[in-house]
Amino acid sequence: MHVSLTVNGQRAVTDVEPRTLLVHLLREELGLTGTHVGCDTSYCGACTVILDGKTVKSCTMLAVQAQGAEVTTIEGLAANGDLHPVQEGFWERHGLQCGFCTPGMIMSAVGLLSENGSPSEGEIRHGLEGNLCRCTGYHNIVRAVEYAAAKMRGEEPPAPEWEEGSA
């Protein structure tokens, strides 16, 4: 089936089997492998992208359902190459280890902060409940989102928990 959509600002037109999932269209047809697949049951959030302004798990949608949509994946988040504050927060506050959950986690955090610019720790934890991470225990993911939220409000981010210094 024919499907055309806009991904990271570029028009994409392709033919897919009707049962092709959006995540497979992104990864295998368009080569955007930053969006990951971590489960078969729409539970882990590794595949999260932003579709028409809302975060969606791209494994829960058929590619053809995205007909005409505007999709942003992790590859499209750094505008003009500059890191999005959420990406920066993950780097600054060690919000990732293996990095596999990270693209989905970052997209969910972007969605969360677009709805609530000053989330409490509890709101961050509840807001990211749909994204699983097996590496970080979420501790530094919360710190990363707090960092990004402050940055996006134009404030100084909270100090890191470790003493700053260089080796």
């Binding site: 080569g31 225990g137 080796a167």
Partner: protein, 803 residues
């Protein structure tokens, strides 16, 4: 976070450097195996057994083979010539590549389908018609240990062996220990307290499912295999061994690995089988697990039942500890399988000094193989010990911290202290660590707070536990105990390796024998080399995981990479430094002894204004005609580090919980950890490892349960039935440390990958039992899901033991 109270936080490197690996990962440009698409690549799906135990009557693949885009369907007979799967410790029944006339666990692979597309392979696998004749499975561990029915009818017993000590391997010594404990029990003034507990089976579940792509090049006679593995060199060796090739005929590449936690520390049958298919079909072949595949066919961890007994006096002196347990190996052995409980034996007596008789039997059942899952044997050992000590403390009415302190191996015994099995330990100072935890946490205030809330009728509990870990494997001499990688064509012991090369422009490439699955090697190793050479971290690139370029190393597991491969890299950097000093001396017309490395270059001591840069030094190295006679060109060095022992980190943890008496819901209010992993290279990365480790230990305590049903079914196919902790389930953690460097390696580092997991499950369970203790509850099995906790509360209430 900072150090504890009144303890040193100095370390050899010790600075936070933001991770070098992150820019790619946060932009989505990191390459994981499933991202790889090779021209002409085919896809694999497996036909898996829906029974725990059955005779395979027939396999009819004709419908599947007739489907469009299906290239081949393979069954056991097609791969019989390749033998069984490679295993390091091939005790018991080793896994066949594909099941033959019998299947022995749910999810066992019976046939492999290769097709043009991922979806097509799945469709064709569903079309393969297998006729089974179901048989009764052996699932229950005690039943398995009794040999009432055999798992494999060509074996004489389900029991493969028992790990027993201490001391280990000394029957007379063991008998003497047992006698000492029996005598203590017979004394009038002693108390014995036992708990029987399940340490349930867990599913490792890294977020990245395992994935492998094999590409046989018939012209070169060589495999190139990309795999999501923790052990690239062993995989290359295992493939070479299986196909009768040399190590140079197999190139394995582990690119980004999306978490491993031990489950990617096996060579899997699918990794061998995609190689076979690629060779047969002359095309690259990919297999990527579904989450369902991962649940049923990637190794599991834990799976023990045991009774732990403490005998001691009423003032808290422990006179004997006994553990009598059974550990589930599953239906087949894979890489380490029976060796996992052995790691538990090492630390069976934890931080303590008392007669210990520890015995765990390893049995086959009709379930998936167990092997290394984060902690691997050590969390189980620590769980039983620390649960039993708490039960004893409660029985005699002495504060659990005091009981522990009274029985520690005293700091004065180091160096020279040994475990209960007689294995020497490196360094330890347990009392300082525990005191630092209690002081930092405000233990006395927390107890008062708990008691105040209790008086209001709330179920609040404090849980304490200590642990000692054995990791940083080493020693090299494990080879002599039979633990080598010889069955993978690598007759190497538990060594490490590193190669440091200064490039012509003065930047450095570091190539290491091990590779990360999230631990940040690219950063930590750059820090080690930067520290020795003065080349800035951003000018150092660390690569790993490609067996064609990296020196032989056995991988990241057992919290060993920094201690062993990090030390090798440190030594390689020192060799480079020594040669660079000669080169700089030549440039500066000085003596090498007077050369100082600083500010990204070198100068003669006292003359910092006459500096040569690393690029000046390297340029000379690569223009050998300018060198003095006898000096070789080039500027690189390789080192192998052969550790004389494992390392022995330790720590103590404290949890505060509240239980909802109406629903059984457990809330983890605070979690405070005081870990000691020796010197710290990058505190940010070390803390991150502890965070993740804690989440997995707390996951076992509160959420995760991978146990099979009595009929051999595994109803844990997704994250719905097998809930991992989410961000909403966990608190922020409060981390602190003491620093007791090891003398086993030049960096003084011990390892931190597993400590969080080893220390935490019992800490949480002790807290919950403490919360319920006013009701008379003395034990609840993990995971502490609301239903189970609620049932324990109800049972205690009906027993009328409400105080």
């Amino acid at each position: 976070m900072g150090g504890g109270v009144g303890v040193s936080t100095t370390s050899v490197l010790g600075g936070v450097v933001k991770r070098r690996e992150d820019p790619a990962l946060i932009r989505g440009t990191g390459l994981y195996v499933d991202d790889l698409q090779l021209p002409g690549m085919l896809h694999v799906a497996f036909v898996r057994s829906p029974y725990a135990h059955a005779r395979v009557v027939s396999v009819d693949a004709s419908d599947a083979e007739a489907m469009d885009g299906v290239r081949a369907v393979y069954t056991a007979g097609d791969v019989a010539h390749l033998g069984d799967l490679v295993a390091q410790v091939p005790v018991g029944k080793v896994r066949p590549l594909l099941a033959g006339d019998k299947v022995n666990h749910l999810g066992e692979a019976v046939a492999m389908v290769v097709a043009d597309t991922r979806y097509g392979a799945r469709d064709a696998a569903d079309a393969v018609d297998v006729e089974y004749d179901p048989l009764d499975p052996v699932i229950d561990l005690k039943e398995a240990a009794s040999d009432a029915a055999l798992v494999h009818d060509d074996m004489e017993s389900n029991v493969l062996l028992a790990w027993e000590g201490g001391p280990w391997g000394d029957e007379e010594g063991i008998a003497a220990t047992q006698q000492t404990i029996a005598d203590a029990k017979a004394q009038d003034d002693t108390v014995s307290v036992s708990i029987e507990a399940v340490n349930q089976r867990l599913l490792p579940m890294p977020m990245e499912p395992r994935s492998v792509v094999a590409d046989w090049n018939v012209g070169y006679g060589r495999f190139t295999v990309h795999s999501s593995t923790q052990i690239a060199h062993a995989l290359a060796g295992g493939i070479a061994q299986t196909f009768g090739l040399s190590l140079t005929d197999v190139r394995c590449i582990a690119p980004e690995v999306g978490g491993g936690f031990g489950c990617k520390l096996n060579v899997y049958n699918d990794e061998i089988l995609v190689c076979f298919a690629s060779q047969q079909l002359g095309r690259p072949v990919k297999f990527t697990e579904t989450r369902r595949d991962a649940a049923g066919s990637t190794i599991h961890g834990r799976g023990w039942v045991a009774t732990a007994t403490i005998t001691g006096t009423r003032d808290g002196q422990i006179l004997g500890y006994e553990l009598d347990g059974i550990a589930d190996m599953g239906a087949y052995s894979q890489n380490f399988t029976v060796a996992i409980p052995f790691l538990g034996l090492f630390v069976g007596a934890g931080q303590y000094e008392f007669p210990t008789h520890w015995k765990v039997a390893c049995v086959h059942t009709h379930t998936m193989t167990t092997d290394a899952y984060r902690g691997a044997g050590r969390p189980e050992a620590a769980y039983y010990l620390e649960r039993a000590i708490d039960a004893f403390a409660r029985e005699i009415g002495v504060d659990p911290a005091d009981v522990r302190r009274k029985n520690f191996i005293p700091a004065e015994k180091f160096p020279g202290a040994a475990t209960h099995i007689g294995f020497p330990m490196d360094t330890g100072d347990y009392e300082t660590n525990l005191d630092a935890l209690l002081e930092t946490a405000g233990y006395e205030d927390l107890k008062a707070e708990r008691d105040r809330m209790r008086a209001e009728g709330r179920l609040v509990g404090l849980g304490l536990a200590t642990y000692v870990e054995v990791c940083g494997f080493g020693p090299s001499a494990l080879v002599d105990l039979g633990f080598s990688w010889a069955s993978y064509k690598i007759p190497s012991g538990f060594n490490g390796s590193g190669l440091v090369r200064v490039q012509a422009d003065g930047t450095a490439s570091v190539i290491i024998g091990t590779g990360p699955s999230g631990q940040g090697h690219q950063t930590t190793w750059a820090q080690i080399v930067s520290n020795q050479l003065g080349i800035p971290v951003e000018n150092i690139r660390v690569s790993h995981g490609d067996t064609a370029e990296s020196p032989l190393g056995i991988g990241t597991f057992g919290s060993r990479s920094a201690a062993v491969d990090g030390s090798a890299t440190y030594e390689a950097a020192n060799k480079v430094r020594s040669k660079a000093a000669d080169l700089a001396a030549h440039l500066l017309e000085a003596s090498a002894d007077d050369i100082v490395f600083a500010d990204g270059g070198a100068h003669v001591a006292g003359s910092p204004d006459q500096q040569v840069s690393w690029s000046d030094i390297a340029t000379l190295a690569y223009q050998p005609h300018r060198l003095p006679e006898g000096m070789e060109g080039g500027l690189e060095a390789h080192a192998v580090f052969s550790p004389g022992n494992a390392t022995w980190p330790f720590g103590s943890h404290l949890a505060l919980v509240e239980v909802d008496g109406d629903t059984g819901d457990v809330k983890l209010l605070r979690y405070i950890a005081m870990d000691d992993c020796g010197n710290v290279i990058n505190p940010m990365i070390v803390d991150g490892q502890i965070h993740g480790g804690l989440a997995q230990g707390i996951g076992q305590a509160m959420f995760e349960d991978g146990d099979y049903e009595a009929d051999g079914n595994l109803l844990k196919w997704s994250f719905v039935e097998y809930p991992l902790p989410t961000s909403a389930d966990l608190p922020s953690f409060e981390l602190h440390r003491t620093v007791t460097p090891t003398d086993i390696n030049p960096l003084g580092v011990k390892g931190i990958g597993e400590a969080g997991t080893i220390g935490s499950a019992q800490t949480v369970v002790n807290a919950v039992v403490d919360a319920l203790s006013p009701l008379g509850v003395t034990h609840v099995d993990m995971p502490l899901r609301p239903k189970r906790v609620w049932a324990a509360i109800q049972a205690a209430k009906t027993n009328g033991s409400v105080s």
